[in-house]
């Protein structure tokens, strides 16, 4: 289908890292069902490094592909590096998203931030609050 790049279709039809982590160290959920997109990211963290990541997503093809690509991009990375992941980087890694689907990549970035923040909060780790703006309600 010409709507999406081959990369998007690949990550949509064969999504990487689908699932849950029962003993996750950080969980982030963003979006709402009313608007048609919810992303939930589970992180396993060891020594400040993301050792495992899984996702569950309710949403369109690009939402699922963005979740899949974002999890691939942060797997094995230190938290500081994962925090620098932008929605643009996710979209670029997917060879682009249609303009009206860019919010899906924003959701992926926000879900990862929310999961890292959850980990910091749970473990009493101090952080710069400006790094965690409130997720968009879209």
């Amino acid at each position: 289908m010409a709507l999406y790049s081959e990369k998007v279709m690949d990550h949509f039809t064969n999504p990487r890292n689908v699932g849950k982590i029962d003993d996750a160290d950080g969980i982030g959920e963003v979006g709402n069902a009313r608007c048609g997109d919810i992303m939930k990211i589970y992180l396993k963290i060891d020594n400040g490094v993301i050792t495992d990541v899984k996702f569950n997503t309710f949403g369109c093809g690009s939402a699922i592909a963005s979740s899949s690509m974002a999890t691939e991009l942060i797997k094995g990375k230190p938290l500081e590096e994962a925090l620098t992941l932008t929605n643009k980087a996710v979209a670029e890694a997917l060879d682009g998203l249609p303009a009206h689907k860019m919010h899906c990549s924003v959701l992926a970035e926000e879900a990862i931030r929310a999961a890292i923040k959850d980990y910091y909060d749970k473990n009493g780790i101090a952080y710069d609050k400006s790094q965690f703006p409130d997720p968009h309600e879209d």
Partner: protein, 396 residues
């Protein structure tokens, strides 16, 4: 991989009958019907022949048929004409419904900006409006009533004859968008008390780019496109003769075959509905009986429609959805919201619309694919997880 095309409410493949009816007017009979010479007059005769045959199929008079470029044009022209002619008598009120096609809804929104007041009748949970609702909404200053014959998404057939009778009694112009109905169920403009009706050829195996407007004798009709004297000054522009000939042939075939196709399509439809309803937390949208023979519209809780469409497409099944992602906005289909579905549920909709070219094997393939795809998407859906864990209540 075999393509299973089940999006016939969007458009249909042209029939051989329609293509064959078209080609002489692309090759030999190329004249401009406004020309006085033989080549032109041959084309003119072809249009008038088509007009007479077309009129007969909906029980109209040939003089009541105006050929247009599409159903949307016919709707636009009818609504604006009736509204402006009402305004001349000081009438500024219009009655319609919440679940009309955008060709009607967006025209009405513009008329509202121009000072008209529109009452959008609510639609029942089963996707129907009643003649009583229409009757109660009529005011002394009502210029026009517009209710679709059959809904394009959920396929519900409205009580047009009764609504038409109410309008006739009140002396208010009654327009119906019959794009999904003509060629699919019997339509008789006289018995149905219709003043204006829009038709589109490509919904019944005719070509795209041609439609028709029926306007009852005595109901004033303003031109929408100004220019030459074509269509008795009501629609300028050199006639699309090939399209008109093909549309007429396609409609003749559709009407002649209707007893057979209607029975066949209903059987495909009902088997698919019964099969899909076996998926837990699914529902049929729209009344089960007052329904177009070829329409199935379902919601599956916990998933989003676009993913469902893409995965079905990957298996060769071409269908449609009313999800936000397929509508290009954040809101799901206005039709599904109008019948009272919560946003969450409306996002997970699937429309399957058959044609005579579909088979029982197609239904088998769909019944195999949809439950698998729904299960796959639910398995990765946090909404479904919350529903299953009891953190959220099932809505369907």
């Amino acid at each position: 991989m075999k393509t299973i095309y089940v999006d016939n409410a969007a458009t249909t493949a042209m029939s051989d009958t329609a293509i064959n009816a078209m080609t002489p007017y692309l090759k030999e009979v190329y004249g401009n019907p406004s020309s006085l010479h033989t080549v032109g007059q041959t084309a003119k005769e072809a249009i008038e022949d088509a007009r007479a045959r077309f009129a007969r199929l909906i029980n109209a008079d040939p003089k009541e048929i105006y050929f247009t470029s599409c159903g949307s044009e016919a709707d636009n022209q009818a609504l604006r004409s009736a509204a402006y002619n009402g305004l001349k008598k000081g009438k500024k009120h219009i009655v319609s419904t919440a679940f009309e096609h955008h060709a009607v809804l967006h025209t009405l929104k513009k008329l509202e900006k121009e000072g008209f007041e529109v009452t959008y009748l609510p639609v029942s949970e089963s996707g129907l409006v009643t003649a009583e609702q229409v009757e109660r909404a009529i005011r002394p200053d009502t210029a026009l009533i517009s209710v679709m014959y059959a809904n394009n998404e959920i396929g519900t057939i409205q009580p047009i004859r009764e609504i038409g009778a109410v309008c006739r009694k009140a002396g208010v112009v009654f327009h119906t968008d019959a794009v999904q109905a003509v060629g699919h169920i019997p339509v008789d403009v006289k018995a149905d008390n219709i003043d204006m009706l829009a038709v589109s050829a490509h919904k019944f195996h005719g070509p795209k780019g041609v439609g028709a407007l029926y306007c009852r004798k005595g109901v004033p009709l303003n031109a929408f496109i100004d220019g030459g004297a074509q269509e008795r000054n009501r629609r300028a522009g050199t006639e699309n003769i090939a399209g008109i000939a093909a549309m007429t042939a396609a409609l003749e075939e559709a009407c002649a075959n209707m007893p057979r196709t209607s029975a066949k399509l209903k059987s495909l439809r009902d088997r698919l509905i019964d099969g899909l309803l076996k998926i837990p937390h699914s529902r049929l949208n729209g009344d089960r009986d007052k329904r177009l023979p070829a329409n199935v519209n379902m919601c599956f809780e916990g998933i989003e429609g676009e993913g469902l469409l893409l995965l079905l497409d990957a298996r060769g099944i071409c269908a449609s959805s009313g999800s936000a992602c397929t509508s290009g906005s954040l809101d799901p289909s206005h039709v599904l919201l109008a019948i009272g579905l919560p946003h969450e549920v409306a996002h997970g909709s699937l429309r399957i619309s058959f044609s005579d070219y579909n088979t029982d094997e197609d239904v088998d393939a769909i019944l195999q694919a949809v439950p698998e795809v729904v299960a796959y998407l639910r398995n990765m859906s946090p909404v479904w997880e919350a529903l299953e864990k009891g953190e959220k209540e099932h809505l369907i």
